[in-house]
């Protein structure tokens, strides 16, 4: 009850204060009266109201009131009356020091510190008030914490070991810079006695070529016909005559994922998005058969005599015997992710497959047949990215070259008789495709960012012989003409470029020509 008494006292105090200032408005007086006379539980609210009113009153009056004193002394004027009407006129009088208006001068007499202090204290101890504000605040803090640190940190500790790991050596530069920069790659291009034209021999348009690293959309047949898949279409370009024919167009949203020519003859294998592998007779422009078996798109194909091996997005490899009604010879769960590189060695002894799971697998052919064992003889995990570029050495049947994607950027050479890595070279750029030259002991690689170039390397020293730039987007696929003189590159910039980079040396010219003619004679006799 003593507390109530105090309240009353305080209220009367405020009233007295009001009285000093002048006549209180009638409604306010009434209000104060009720507060003093009313019951104890009302007092808190009303007093607060009164407080508000008085403070409002104060602020109204203060402009008129406080400056008065100062002005009084300076001007020596009469004490201002309680009438506040005069104050505005005073404010307009030209004075050296501006009074009123632009500065705030508190009135000590009207601010009741005791009451203020009491009110503050009361607010802190009032449990109702606390519940009103803090949950919001707490929630806010929690949300801020979650956004900034990804979790509520209020009941967590952040600890760290005091002996920090050493910083990298001074002056060390991040080697990844090359991946991001446009500058020329550091390895020098070794001067070669051979002339290699820097510009492409021809440029063909390849509209709507799918810019997908994991597909194989270009193949050049032994009969000098180039098959190119552009979106849902497959086109045949006869390199000898220059005629272009459309083989077919897929319906709906399907697109062609891979093309591969049989070693001999007019047959073209085509992998599609739905998981079928189609066989086309290009001499009659007719589909011969459709082979199912895959659950996802067929991104890679490779022939070994009458066996067609296909790799799919789900990671399976299937051997199809194209002669039999039951074409499915064996299904292998080869990779954890999409199979993007698939190549039989020229002697049909090994099959190499590369996947998006960064694995390179070597499969041995089953003796007497043309398909492979279901278990790999070597699983090579050295690549740090998807292995798409695969190429078997034409003069050493057991040597395989493989190239990795953006995170890897290396070309590796493997001896598949032993499973040993013979050599590795960092190309500083994504390796999309690899091709061995048949005329020189050289290998050509197609790259992505930063230069989108073709690089010709001397094997086995791996010196750069030439860099062929021109594509404005990554070089997705490479194919070689049957005579081995021309390399075709298909870029994501929707162009096909033909580079005559392996023209035989004129001094040694006679020899290879004889050889090729001999081979072609042999082919004719077989047919």
């Amino acid at each position: 009850m003593s507390h109530l008494k105090y309240m009353k006292e305080l209220n009367t105090l405020t009233r007295m204060d009001d009285a000093i200032k002048g006549p209180v408005p009638r409604w306010q007086k009434k209000c104060l009266e009720t507060s003093t006379s009313s019951a104890a539980n009302m007092s808190l609210n009303t007093s607060r109201k009164a407080m508000n009113v008085t403070s409002a009153n104060n602020s109204n009056n203060s402009s008129g009131k406080t400056p008065k004193k100062g002005i009084e002394i300076r001007n020596g004027k009469k004490t201002p009356s309680k009438n506040s009407k005069k104050s505005p006129s005073r404010a307009t009088t030209p004075n050296k020091t501006p009074c009123g208006g632009d500065r705030f001068i508190p009135t000590r007499t009207t601010t009741n510190f005791e009451l203020g202090y009491f009110k503050l204290q009361q607010q802190n101890t009032d449990p109702d008030n606390k519940n009103e504000t803090s949950p919001n605040k707490r929630e806010m803090q929690r949300l801020i914490g979650e956004n900034l640190h990804g979790g509520d940190l209020s009941n967590m500790r952040v600890l760290s070991y005091q002996n920090k790991a050493p910083a990298p050596p001074e002056g060390y530069q991040n080697p990844l810079r090359v991946v991001y920069s446009q500058s020329k790659t550091p390895a020098s291009v070794k001067a070669s006695t051979r002339y290699i034209p820097n510009a492409p021999d021809r440029i063909l348009d390849a509209p709507e070529i799918v810019d997908d690293y994991y597909l194989n959309l270009v193949d050049w047949s032994t009969s000098n016909v180039l098959a190119v898949a552009l979106g849902a279409n497959v086109y045949l370009w006869n390199a000898g005559t220059g005629t272009i024919e459309q083989l077919f167009e897929l319906e709906g949203n399907d697109y062609v994922c891979s093309v591969a020519w049989i070693q001999e003859g007019p047959y073209l294998a085509v992998g599609t998005t739905v998981g079928n592998t189609e066989l086309w007779d290009c001499s009659q422009m007719k589909r011969v058969r459709v082979m199912n078996g895959h659950s996802a798109r067929v991104g890679s194909l490779s022939w070994n005599s009458h066996i067609l091996t296909s790799g799919c997005r789900a990671g399976q490899i299937i051997h199809h015997d194209v002669r039999q009604r039951e074409h499915l010879v064996s299904t292998i769960n080869a990779h954890a992710q999409e199979v993007c590189g698939l190549k039989w060695s020229p002697d049909g002894k090994y099959l190499a497959s590369g996947g998006n799971d960064n694995m390179l697998q070597i499969w041995q052919g089953v003796a007497g047949t043309n398909y492979s064992h279901p278990q790999p003889i070597y699983s090579l995990s050295q690549h740090q990215a998807a292995v798409k570029a695969l190429a078997w050495c034409p003069w050493q049947n057991h040597v395989l070259a493989s190239g990795g994607g953006t995170a890897d950027r290396t070309i590796r050479f493997w001896n598949c008789n032993t499973g040993a890595c013979l050599n590795t070279i960092d190309t500083k750029s994504q390796v999309c495709s690899l091709l061995w030259s048949t005329t020189y002991k050289e290998i050509v690689s197609g790259h992505g960012y930063a230069q989108n170039q073709l690089t010709i390397w001397k094997y086995p020293t791996m010196n750069k012989v030439a860099e062929l730039t021109g594509h404005s987007s990554r070089v997705l696929h490479l194919a070689m003409s049957p005579d081995g003189t021309t390399v075709l590159s298909a870029g994501a910039d929707e162009t096909l470029r033909l580079w005559k980079c392996f023209i035989p040396d004129p001094h040694k010219k006679k020899e290879p020509i004889k050889q090729t003619s001999a081979v072609s004679c042999l082919k004719r006799s077989i047919r």
């Binding site: 640190h149 967590m156 600890l159 005091q162 799971d357």
Partner: protein, 211 residues
């Protein structure tokens, strides 16, 4: 028959914590190599989880990992760790450029840490094949490798630190200290795959400065 099944299909809390520790060790080393924080000459390839991972051979870094990850493994057993953060910051300005968060979730319900310590005779057992766990881990590490293609270049001398977010009742061991959490202003976040040992679930998130 049942015995062999037991061997292949069970994983103890201890084994799970060890797997998580191994993942952190190989994952973080892979990040250090792939992001080019230390010279590539100081790394050597190691076969693990069926992957070729480049591991730092710098004795100081090896020692650092041994101590830090050893402690984290211990905390994992006690269910104290909430999160492990790999912080990559610029040496000169101390500005944080990249952060890798490894969030730990404890599966198998919320059992009090104390009861686990008491009931050591009856350890927790998860039912997940080691091979499938390793496969999941492999896929996360591959994803880490592939992040090079979108993360910005760290074009300055950078150092790294490992912060461990633990429960508040965790004791601070010798030579460890409490620090403040780290965040990157204007950051971009990418969540990678999640793997689970059926006892611990591990979430990997990389956040980097958005430029």
């Amino acid at each position: 028959m049942s015995e062999t099944q037991q061997k292949t299909q069970c994983i103890t809390l201890k084994g799970s914590a060890e797997l998580v520790k191994e993942y952190l060790l190989y994952g973080i080393n892979n990040i250090l190599y792939q992001r080019g924080i230390y010279p590539p000459e100081t790394f050597e390839t190691k076969d693990h989880f069926g992957l070729c991972i480049l591991m730092s051979v710098d004795p100081k870094i090896v020692e650092f990992f041994k101590v830090v990850l050893g402690q984290i493994e211990e905390w994992l057993l006690q269910r104290k760790v909430e999160r492990v953060s790999l912080v990559i910051s610029q040496v000169k300005t101390k500005e944080v450029l990249e952060k890798w968060d490894f969030k730990v979730d404890y599966e198998n319900g919320e059992i009090d840490a104390k009861t686990i310590i008491k009931n050591e005779i009856m350890p927790e057992v998860g039912k997940k094949d080691l091979k499938t766990i390793q496969k999941e881990i492999r896929e996360v590490i591959r994803q880490i490798t592939a992040t090079v293609s979108f993360l910005p270049l760290l074009d300055c001398l950078c150092s790294f630190d490992i912060l461990t977010y633990t429960k508040s009742d965790c004791d601070i061991p010798n030579e460890w200290d409490e620090t403040s959490p780290v965040f990157i202003a204007n950051s971009q976040e990418v969540q990678l795959r999640t793997f689970s040992t059926s006892l611990h679930k591990m979430q990997t998130i990389v956040s980097y400065k958005n430029t």
